[in-house]
Symmetry: C2
Subunit: 715 residues, 2 copies
């Protein structure tokens, strides 16, 4: 460990550089209130100190990069966030400055690299924003001093909203430092509080260190001692096979080998997405390298310095992955980025966490420098920089753990990033503080995005599921996912389950080899039928619905968004395990897109065919009913449910099975069914009503009574 | 009474000419079964005998008048009717001949006089149809012999379906006789069974006879002894003031005076509708008068005879009304057709009815001749032809009595005629048998239509409400009528009533001078508010909805048709009396079309404004909420209910009060309401959920939870 660290320097009138996120579940309320007040003030102070590095007016108002707001926005944003969340949580009524709070509410973060932000803003003056921050500081301090406070502090506590505001500002302390690092040098000035490391030298030779495999359990409990964002909670268990990890983070020197090998010229080492970015952006070297007279210098936050070859390289995920691909080629080994779980295997070597350590076991939490440092400065066992220095890209797209739920006051913190396009970074960097600096923090960025982030590589055969797993937002599919897998209402039992139970009851005395769920929608009845039938075919005309059913079958869960009021909604998950469907063999089910009126020949010899809410959605229901006996073995069953909602949108009027006058006489659908099915079937039991409820919004529902009829194919 | 009547003639092999409709509530089941079988056989026989008057093939296949089918249709139709109804009632499964039953199912009856029926039909041969009738006769006879039969026979009895078939055939016995009377003479032949009256002479001079006024109660009970069609049941009470009635039906001679006065040339005696018919049809004399060599002869059913001047004239309602208008002009008295109630005043003079009389007290029930007879042949007290001879047109458009409901096996017998365009005929004619011949029978035809019908005139000031009162078939209006006035479902209380009760509860301590029901739809809450508020304004943007509310206010009831399955539906009535709203003063309510966002100045100074399910249907709800305090007295109340179903169809997204993200933060509508109303109102009580259910079909419902908020205008 270095002897002389920033921690030892005392700047008068400067906020303490080292902070600790709050321990929420111990201590007495009044001392905790003081701790919270101190943490808030320190955070506000430290954030303002960062902006003291701006050298001129332009530095506040010009964008560091096109896709983000200028720094004046971020200066106000973290303060307004407190007010916006306190209003949302209905803890305060009056705003401090509605205009400022509106203009600095929404960041232009993180979009696609080829988007352009063409919005025009009228930014307030720096003095106005400073004044605004003063008012907010007073209001929040007062709020902290007077709010009710119990231990533990939980999601429901008023103090949670304050912690949310503080930890949000700690995020922006870091992301603003990245923007400042991206400003022209002329816009920034050195500052004693933000003193970088001065130690540079040759990079050590990297090597792979063997890491034993182990069972990992990720995710924290909702009563964890430390503040967390929604995505940190829940549970994910995984077996991690043995792998090897590079001893050091990849240094500028090691990365230079990749460049010298033509790293930016060889498409074969890049992913398609990475190559598209590299060519679009015309990138030739890492973001914070500066080409000057044929050689590279290095940009710290506030200075350009000679290239520190033994410091970690800052790259985005695409560059890191291309490096690994090159490294695989030259070593003949499978070199890649670690998964999130593999990183946690490394993290096991450190047995402490930010609020509890005396001194950080890495270049993190601003405990040493306002920059990276040599990659061999902080060692834990055989590895260096397990945490800190720069973030470490992983191969893992962020996703919620089992049990994930959003916080009601910040429901869009994580959910938009569960799209397969945001990879996790782990370990924190030199300016990671608060929640950013703890073991359980989980942040993810688009793969083209720059933070103070680099990477460690591993030799591993682990393959991360990188396909997208976003919230299903197709409104109709989401509505049906909720209908099949979600809450029930008005004491009406789950309809697909009730239908499956009818199929079970009527088939009790029969073989249960093959069942067909025709018009299976998003598949719940098929899953339920697989409890009793050896093989279940689920067929729906809609590829969108079948995709959802198949995703659930493959992944065991699917997420969806259902509207509650206007454009607002709930983030939900259908989880086979939570639904008691984890004990069935999902391989018994085959979901396929298909047309009930034109079934392929392979769909035959069924013991039972269930057609739920199907017949009144067919173009030619009589044709379907006229041929379905061919698909059922003699003695097999046909179970129909329908509310007989005949609509010309689906079925031409002359094809309605009932609900019409025929030669002047009333013909109801039940009678029409008898007429069509009588030749090949006999009705097994009296028709019965089966109710169902489909939620449209939090307050509006379709409440329907289907009629269920059961038919046995004549022998 | 005449000495020598057809009754005394005995034709061998001919069915008894005199029949009696069944008494349903006395006798023992087995003798009743035999009576029913006899009545069925007689009816079938007599009907077939009528067709023996057709002289040639063309007579069966050429249309007597363009708007009706040829007689071959009617020959099969009454038989097929039995089968169609037995199948509809699910009392038999197998049809006798599906092709015939389809082709003779629907008559082309009774359309507008300028319609044309261009359908092409492939009619069966007469022999095929006779064979078909034989099979039906055997099936129905067998059915009668084996069906369950209890006394009394009710709407639910299987025997009711048989009575329906018999009485239906008796209707067609008469209407077919009219068609035969309209055939060319060469197509028909005289027949001993169908012997006309031969007695003619000079017409007696008509005069007016004073009839005392009385309280009349029309309509029969559902347990009445005689078969009836749906429109005969229920109750209608009316005070009939004293009036005078012509002693005789208007004879051919008396009608000739009108013609000689230029009856068919003077538009001023005709209604607009009547004149349009007369000019379109180029009518110059009554339908069954034949102009030959400058003088008139007269067409009976099967012959042309010298004009029987003392027989009643056959005319349609337009001609009868024109005659009365002329008569008024020449007498200076208010001469008009009788109303239905006035006819019943005359009918009081006869104390018997068809099943119970020994001998008909009029030329009716085929008890005398197969034609009309002199207008002075049958006297009852001071009047002749109170019943029989020819039907008597009335001024009364047919309508259901209070308590009207359709028979489930024949729901379109009457309902299509409740349109203000079908006038009742009363009293029956020479060939009226069965239900046609009883006191309570009620048949109505379009005013241009010909039956064996003429008229008696009265001097009366009675004015019949002739405006249309059909079933509301505007689907959305009907759906809301059912929502406001119809059945409840899922144990959810009536919503407009629940809302009114909330208004009552919150206004208990306040004056209740003026209330405003804004977005009143079809008005239920307005009616309910009138229980407690001295004046209620009901305003809706939709003129269709307001019209329905106003009709209910004016008439005390309104009919509507709501779908059950496909195009089938229920015929319903909203009746203020049945809803317990007959004790409120409906004059307290003023229904007006208007725009909640642009209210006229007169709508002000309210003690209470109720806006139910309104705000999320406004184009600019904030504008409405920003001004509504101006219409409420200080201290007055604003009651809002809404499910907050924001849709861009109604409200542009930037005008939604909530259900949005505002500067990234969730804004729900309840919060939005507080923001808008906070200046002028204080919230009186916590928000509450009020559920409602709107039926879409028999099986499909919208089930919604509105939120109710109550606000008091600051003083």
């Amino acid at each position: 460990m270095p002897e002389n660290t920033a921690k030892d320097v005392n700047y008068s009138d400067s906020p303490d550089r080292v902070t600790r996120t709050l321990v929420l579940n111990s201590g007495n309320p009044e001392s905790k209130r003081q701790e919270l007040l101190d943490y808030f003030q320190q955070t506000f102070d430290q954030y303002e100190t960062l902006f003291e590095t701006l050298a001129c007016e332009e530095a506040w108002y010009e964008k560091a990069i096109p896709l983000r707001h200028p720094l004046i926005f971020y200066f106000g944003h973290t303060a307004a966030f407190f007010i916006n969340k306190l209003v949302t949580a209905k803890l305060i009524v009056e705003r401090v400055d509605p205009d400022i709070e509106a203009i600095v509410a929404i960041g232009v973060d993180e979009m696609s690299w080829d988007d352009l932000d063409d919005s025009h803003y009228q930014w307030p003056s720096v003095d106005a924003m400073k004044d605004y921050r003063r008012k907010v500081r007073a209001l929040v301090s007062d709020f902290i001093e007077t709010m009710p406070l119990d231990i533990p502090i939980t999601w429901e506590s008023q103090a949670w909203i304050i912690m949310m505001g503080i930890e949000h500002e700690r995020i922006h302390l870091e992301t603003s430092s990245v923007l400042i690092r991206q400003l022209p040098l002329s816009y920034v000035k050195v500052h004693p509080y933000w003193e970088p490391c001065r130690e540079t030298g040759d990079a050590p030779e990297n090597r792979l260190v063997a890491i034993p495999g182990r069972h990992m359990r990720l995710g924290k409990a909702y009563d964890d001692a430390l503040y967390g964002w929604d995505n940190e909670y829940g549970c994910y268990e995984v077996e991690v096979p043995a792998f090897s990890a590079s001893e050091y983070l990849v240094s500028n020197a090691e990365y230079k080998q990749f460049m010298d090998a033509g790293g930016y010229d060889n498409e074969r080492w890049w992913t398609d997405e990475g190559w598209a970015w590299a060519t679009f952006s015309e990138t030739r070297h890492p973001e914070f390298w500066v080409l000057e007279g044929g050689s590279y210098r290095y940009r710290t936050m506030l200075e350009e310095i000679a290239m520190p070859w033994n410091w970690p390289v800052d790259v985005n995920c695409h560059e890191a992955q291309a490096f690994c691909q090159w490294k695989s080629e030259v070593t003949g080994r499978q070199i890649q980025l670690p998964s999130e779980a593999e990183w946690y295997c490394l993290r096991e070597a450190i047995d402490t966490d930010q609020p509890r350590w005396d001194k950080a076991p890495g270049n993190i939490n601003l405990e040493y420098w306002a920059s990276a440092c040599p990659v061999d400065e902080f060692r834990t066992g055989e590895l260096c920089d397990v945490i800190g220095n720069v973030w470490q890209w992983t191969t893992t797209p962020i996703d919620g753990f089992d049990g994930f739920r959003v916080h009601p006051c910040y429901d869009d913190f994580s959910t938009p990033t569960f799209d397969g396009r945001h990879n996790l970074i782990k370990g924190g960097c030199w300016i990671s503080t608060g929640n950013y600096a703890i073991r359980d923090s989980r942040y993810a960025f688009r793969r083209h995005f720059f933070q103070h982030a680099g990477f460690r590589y591993v030799e591993s055969t682990a393959v991360e599921n990188t396909s997208a797993n976003p919230y299903e937002t197709d409104a109709l599919v989401a509505q049906y996912l909720a209908f099949h897998y979600g809450e029930t209402f008005f004491d009406v039992p789950n309809y697909p389950v009730a239908c499956a139970q009818i199929c079970r009851d009527v088939s009790q005395e029969s073989p249960r080899t093959r069942a067909l769920d025709l018009g299976c929608s998003v598949g719940r009845t098929s899953f339920e039928l697989a409890r009793w039938f050896q093989h279940v075919d689920g067929i729906d005309f809609s590829a969108r619905f079948i995709s959802a059913a198949a995703e659930l079958q493959q992944r065991g869960k699917i997420r969806y968004f259902v509207p509650t009021e206007g454009e607002l909604g709930d983030y939900c998950v259908a989880d086979l395990a939570e639904l008691g469907l984890d004990d069935i063999d999902v391989n018994r089910i085959r979901f396929t897109q298909g047309d009930a009126c034109n079934l392929k020949p392979i769909y035959d010899n069924y013991d039972l065919v269930f057609a739920g809410n199907l017949i009144d959605r067919l173009n030619h229901p009589a044709q379907f009913l006229g041929m379905i006996h061919e698909r059922i073995r003699p003695g097999g069953l046909l179970v129909l449910t329908s509310p007989y909602t005949w609509l010309e949108d689906y079925t031409p009027r002359d094809k309605w099975l009932g609900g019409i006058r025929e030669n002047g006489e009333v013909l109801d659908t039940y009678t029409g069914l008898h007429r069509l099915l009588g030749t090949h079937f006999e009705e097994v039991q009296p028709p019965a009503d089966v109710p169902f409820v489909i939620r449209e919004t939090a307050r509006k529902f379709q409440h329907t009574l289907a009629q269920c009829t059961v038919w046995r194919r004549k022998v």
